[in-house]
Symmetry: C2
C-alpha cells in the first residue's frame, strides 16, 4: 500500500509573494509531492501550504522548504495579526493513508532534528510532544516571538531540538503530528440561534459532549437557518454519523429539523468509512473494495 502523509507548514510570510514562491518552489521540485492548497494572507502575513506524498518525499520537501524559508524570512522585521514565534512557525504532519501515528512522529522528529541542526530552537507538539505541557500549540507559542528570548532562558522551555539560545532571524519552530481535522457543519431549520448554541454545548467536549468535537452555534443570516459549526478532531474515535444523529435528536427536542450539512475543504477517505458503515449497515465493508484505491497502491 502506498503510504500518504499530509503536511501543512505555516510560514511567516504572506505579503512578499515572490518570497513565498521561492519557498514553494522547494516543495514543487520534489518528485511524488502533490500540492493541494496554497493560502497566503497579507493581514496575517502568513502562508499555509498543504501537500501530500509518501513519508520520505514529504520529509524531503519539508526540509527543503524550511531551509529556504529560514534563508529568506527575517523575524526581526515580521509584523502580522496571526500569533507566531518563528519564520517557519508550525509544521504539522498528518497521517492520511497507511501511516501509523508513530511513523509520522518519527518523520516529525527527523524534521525537528534537521531544523535544530540549522541552529533553530524546536518544540514538538500534539502526538510528538515530549511532555504534557507542550501538547498544544497555544501553550508553546504563548507570548509569541517577542517573548522567545526570555522564554529560552527558562529551563522549563529548553527546546526539544536545537540550541536554547535566541535566534533573532529564525525565531523558534513547532512541529509534530496530529489527526486530520474534519470541518463539519449542520444547518437547522430555525432562526433561533440559542438552539444552535445549546446543541453545540451538548456535543462539544468542553461542556460534556463528545471527546473529539469542537463546536459553536452560528447565525446564517438571510437563510432562515442557524448552524452548529464543528471541527471533528478525531473522526475515528468520534465519527461523523454519531455526531450528526446526536444533533438530530437534540434538535427534535425543539421541534427543529436538520436542513442539511456541509463538509468543508479536504476530507480523508477514512472519515467517510464510518458514514457508509453506519447508514448502509454494511458491517463488513472495507475501503479497499473501492476500485480507485487500487490506484493508490
Amino acid at each position: 500500500m502506498r503510504k500518504v502523509l499530509l503536511c501543512e507548514p505555516n510560514i511567516s510570510e504572506g505579503r512578499q509573494l515572490d518570497i513565498v514562491e521561492q519557498i514553494l518552489e522547494q516543495i514543487r521540485r520534489v518528485d511524488g509531492i502533490k500540492i493541494l492548497d496554497i493560502n497566503s494572507d497579507g493581514d496575517h502575513n502568513r502562508s499555509v501550504f498543504t501537500y501530500l506524498g509518501e513519508p520520505e518525499p514529504a520529509l524531503k520537501a519539508t526540509k527543503a522548504m524550511a531551509a529556504k524559508a529560514f534563508e529568506l524570512i527575517d523575524m526581526t522585521k515580521h509584523q502580522g495579526s496571526h500569533p507566531r514565534m518563528g519564520a517557519v512557525d508550525v509544521v504539522p504532519f498528518i497521517p492520511v493513508r497507511g501511516v501509523q501515528t508513530e511513523d509520522a512522529v518519527e518523520i516529525a522528529r527527523r524534521f525537528g532534528k534537521f531544523v535544530g541542526d540549522l541552529g533553530v530552537p524546536v518544540y514538538y507538539y500534539e502526538d510528538a510532544a515530549t511532555r504534557p505541557e507542550r501538547a498544544t500549540l497555544p501553550k508553546i507559542r504563548k507570548g509569541q516571538y517577542e517573548a522567545l528570548e526570555e522564554k529560552l532562558k527558562d529551563p522549563a522551555w529548553t527546546p526539544d531540538e536545537g540550541p536554547a539560545t535566541f535566534n533573532p532571524k529564525a525565531g523558534a519552530m513547532v512541529t509534530g503530528v496530529r489527526f486530520p481535522l474534519v470541518a463539519f457543519n449542520v444547518n437547522l431549520h430555525t432562526t433561533d440561534l440559542s438552539i444552535a448554541d445549546r446543541i453545540a454545548r451538548a456535543v462539544r467536549h468542553i461542556n460534556g459532549g463528545y471527546r473529539y468535537v469542537r463546536a459553536i452555534g452560528l447565525e446564517l443570516e438571510g437563510t432562515g437557518m442557524v448552524q452548529v459549526s464543528m471541527n471533528l478532531v478525531n473522526y475515528a474515535k468520534t465519527p461523523i454519523p454519531r455526531v450528526l444523529e446526536t444533533i438530530r435528536s437534540e434538535a427534535t427536542r425543539y421541534g427543529v429539523n436538520v436542513a442539511g450539512t456541509e463538509l468543508i475543504g479536504p476530507v480523508p477517505l477514512g472519515a467517510l468509512e464510518e458514514v457508509l458503515k453506519h447508514y448502509l449497515q454494511v458491517h463488513d465493508f472495507s475501503m479497499e473494495q473501492i476500485i480507485e484505491t487500487a490506484l493508490l497502491d
Copy 2:
C-alpha cells in the same frame, strides 16, 4: 484528472493455466495497468481478468492480451459449461473515473477494429451497440460458437468489424461499454423466504421496480435471515440509498427489520457519493474533496 477505465475480458481458457499465464503476461508488461483480479474456472473453462488504467494503456494491454489469446486458444477444441462464442469471448470496457461513455465507446471501437483486422468477426454490445437487437450479450451469443458458422451467413448478423466468414479457431468476439455493476445485498431478520421474494419483486425492474435493479430472494441457511440479493446496473440513475430505503419500507409492512447489508467485490467511489449525500444530507459535497483523490490526478 487521471482517467481510469476498467477492463474485464472473458477468455475461453480456464484449465491450462500456463496458457492463461502467457496471456496475462501481455497485460502485466504494459506500464500503468493495475490488475485487480484474475479468476480461472475449470468447469467453465474460462478466465476473467479485471484490470484498470488510463484509456490508452488499457487499450494497449487489451490488444496485446487478445492477440496472444487468439494465438494460443483453439475454439475447435473448446469445451466448458459457460456460454461462449469465441477465444476472446467478451470484452467489456467500464468507465470508472473521468471517462465519458462516448470516450469508452471510442476505445471499444478501436479495439474491435484491431480484432476485426486480425480476421475475427466482432460485435459491439451495450453502450457500443450499433443496433438495438445487438444491445445485450445473450442475444448476440445465442446458439454460441456452434451456431456461428450459420449465423454469419445471415445478413442480420453481419459483424460490426472483421469478416463475415467463420473463423473456426477464433470464433467471434463481443466488445463494448457498460456501467460498473454494484453487487448489493440486504439481509432481513426473518426466516420467511417469501418476504425476501416479495421485496425482490417490488424493487426489480422486470416486475415494475427500479429500472436498474436486478434482484432475487435468497435463504441464508442457519443465520435466521433471508436476503434480497441485487445487482445495481446503473448506480447513478438508481442509487444505493433509494433502493435500501425502499426495501426497509417494504420490510416494515411485514414487521421485519434490516439486519445489515453487503457490498460485494469492487465498488466504484462514485457509487458511494449518493450514499454520503443522502444520509449526511450534505448537498454540496464533491468527491474531489476526498484527500486521496489528489493522488489520482
